[in-house]
């Protein structure tokens, strides 16, 4: 069963940043008035290298690019819509076009901040960012995985997005940046669970004879492992953001095979209800039971030749 752990990943930025800034003098942190309360100790310990620009997200990204131009490794953080959607052109022009490395850590995945309304929801983040050539996208499913994947990727010279969520899987997996993890092997179908969907997916597939692959690096996507491990003719993709973002990667990886693909994720709807994260999951069919129903229906569909 999936468990919601309130803001664990977000709070982990404090020990992670304290450690990384202490080890690596090239690292800088750029904030836009979000999470300074969590990061007070980091700000006080490294006043030169932690800059809170204020509520100006465009300049937050551009100034981080300026730091990267001077040889630093910027770590930029704010809430998802203000990190991805508002300064999208700054990400494109100031990092991608310049060919600069940097790290972008969001808080508030999809409808994590369920009572705040659509302005604070961010289900489009992965679909938007995968349209930026060279942008790496990391979707950790636990705090431990965030820590590990960040350490693996933060200094690799590419711009990298880390999608933090309040939802976490019950247990961390061994995750390698850029690689799918084989969680279980089966013969009838292949299920790809992205980030915090793994807990619900494992509960959903239960006794089904399916392969489960776990994806925490969405870009670059590990086509090689999918190609090697794919079984059956059905591929089910379970994503925690707007459904279907990874379908192009799957079709490209399996272009030499006849497969049926089902994408399960956040539907493209205007979400205007409040309530809890769990209530949204129930309404959108993204509980373990809802996911199981959709997987079994898909597997039972006759294939038309």
């Amino acid at each position: 069963m999936s468990v919601a752990i309130e803001q664990r990943m977000r709070h982990h930025m404090k020990p992670l940043f304290l450690d990384i800034l202490g080890r690596d003098p090239r690292t800088t942190v750029v904030l836009a008035d979000i999470s300074e309360d969590i990061l007070t100790d980091v700000i006080e310990r490294y006043p030169d290298r932690v800059i809170n620009v204020g509520i100006m997200e465009q300049t937050m990204i551009s100034a981080a690019a300026g730091l990267a131009l001077e040889g630093f490794i910027p770590i930029v953080h704010t809430l998802t819509p203000f990190l991805v959607e508002r300064p999208y052109e700054q990400l494109k022009d100031d990092f991608i076009y310049q060919r600069l490395g940097g790290n972008f850590i969001s808080s508030g995945a999809s409808y994590d901040y369920s009572i705040q309304g659509m302005t604070h929801h961010g289900p489009a983040d992965v679909a938007l960012l995968r349209n930026l050539p060279g942008m790496q996208i990391v979707v950790p499913g636990t705090t431990e995985e965030f820590d590990s994947l960040f350490r693996q990727a933060y200094a690799n010279g590419a711009p990298t997005y880390y999608r933090l969520s309040t939802e976490e899987n019950p247990a961390p997996q061994d995750t390698t940046f850029g690689k799918l993890t084989v969680v279980q092997r089966g013969t009838q179908a292949t299920v790809i669970a992205v980030g915090p969907m793994l807990g619900r997916v494992l509960e959903a597939v239960g006794d089904l004879d399916v392969t489960v692959l776990y994806c925490t690096t969405v870009a670059p996507f590990d086509a090689e492992t999918l190609h090697a491990e794919q079984r059956g003719d059905a591929v089910i993709l379970v994503e925690p953001y707007y459904e279907g973002a990874l379908v192009p990667e799957i079709t490209a990886a399996l272009e030499d095979r006849p497969v049926r693909i089902k994408a399960i994720g956040v539907p493209h709807q205007i979400l205007s209800r409040y309530g809890t994260y769990q209530q949204h999951n129930e309404a959108l069919g993204l509980t373990a039971r809802g996911i199981r129903d959709r997987i079994t229906r898909f597997l039972q569909q006759p294939t038309r030749q």
Partner: protein, 224 residues
């Protein structure tokens, strides 16, 4: 190789570029400033364009880079013949500068309102490195319509960045009346001065000034 070039040489180099996408008025309004900057103010080595010891120049507005390209050619960053290939498939010079293709271009620009904020990041980086090198960013009066420019005005003033100079070239192309920009920037925490953007001596005197605690704004007026 450093070319022995004067201002007339640069104007001749500008004429080498052909095509409809040169942003002619924009290029000509920045010419005197960029020339004076590279001829008398900036420290740089055309043989080592990314040297740590250089001053940084960011053409924030990106438009009309022909003057910029001509000055770079005059100062030996690349051969002037490159200007003849402006905008062509095999050339490195396009309608807006690409730092990964043009030796001496610090930042790829074009979309308005990016460069000044990037220059702030560069100035912060130099401060962390305890470098005394300076960062100059050139923006246009039309560019100041962008909200991000006002973010940058506010932030640079608050951060007390003496190593940052913003040159606002006012060729009166802004749709919106800007009012007294020097007064506005002073109120944002900058030290500001307004000069004739065609007068090389005024440009030089304004650009060598540095306030020890504040960023510098030079409003360079270009008469109609």
């Amino acid at each position: 190789m450093q070319v022995q070039a004067n201002f007339d040489t640069v104007k001749r180099f500008m004429s080498l570029a052909t095509g409809d996408e040169k942003h002619e008025p924009s290029a000509h309004s920045t010419l005197d400033i960029i020339w004076t900057l590279y001829d008398r103010v900036l420290r740089f080595d055309p043989q080592n364009p990314r040297s740590e010891e250089r001053d940084r120049f960011v053409l924030s507005k990106g438009h009309g880079p022909i003057a910029f390209f001509a000055v770079l050619a005059a100062k030996g960053f690349f051969p002037p013949e490159e200007l003849k290939r402006f905008g062509t498939w095999d050339g490195i010079l396009g309608g807006h500068p690409d730092r990964n293709q043009v030796p001496g271009a610090e930042v790829s620009t074009g979309s308005l309102g990016h460069g000044l904020s990037m220059a702030i990041g560069m100035a912060l980086g130099l401060r962390i490195k305890r470098s005394d090198r300076r960062v100059f960013a050139l923006i246009g009066d039309g560019e100041t319509n962008e909200g991000s420019i006002w973010e940058a005005f506010l932030l640079a003033g608050n951060l007390h960045l003496p190593n940052l100079t913003c040159i606002l070239v006012n060729n009166h192309s802004s749709t919106r009346d800007l009012g007294d920009m020097a007064a506005k920037l002073t109120s944002f925490g900058w030290t500001s001065t307004t000069i004739n953007g065609r007068d090389h001596e005024q440009i030089y005197q304004a650009l060598i000034q540095q306030d020890p605690t504040r960023p510098t704004a030079v409003i360079a007026d270009i008469a109609h």
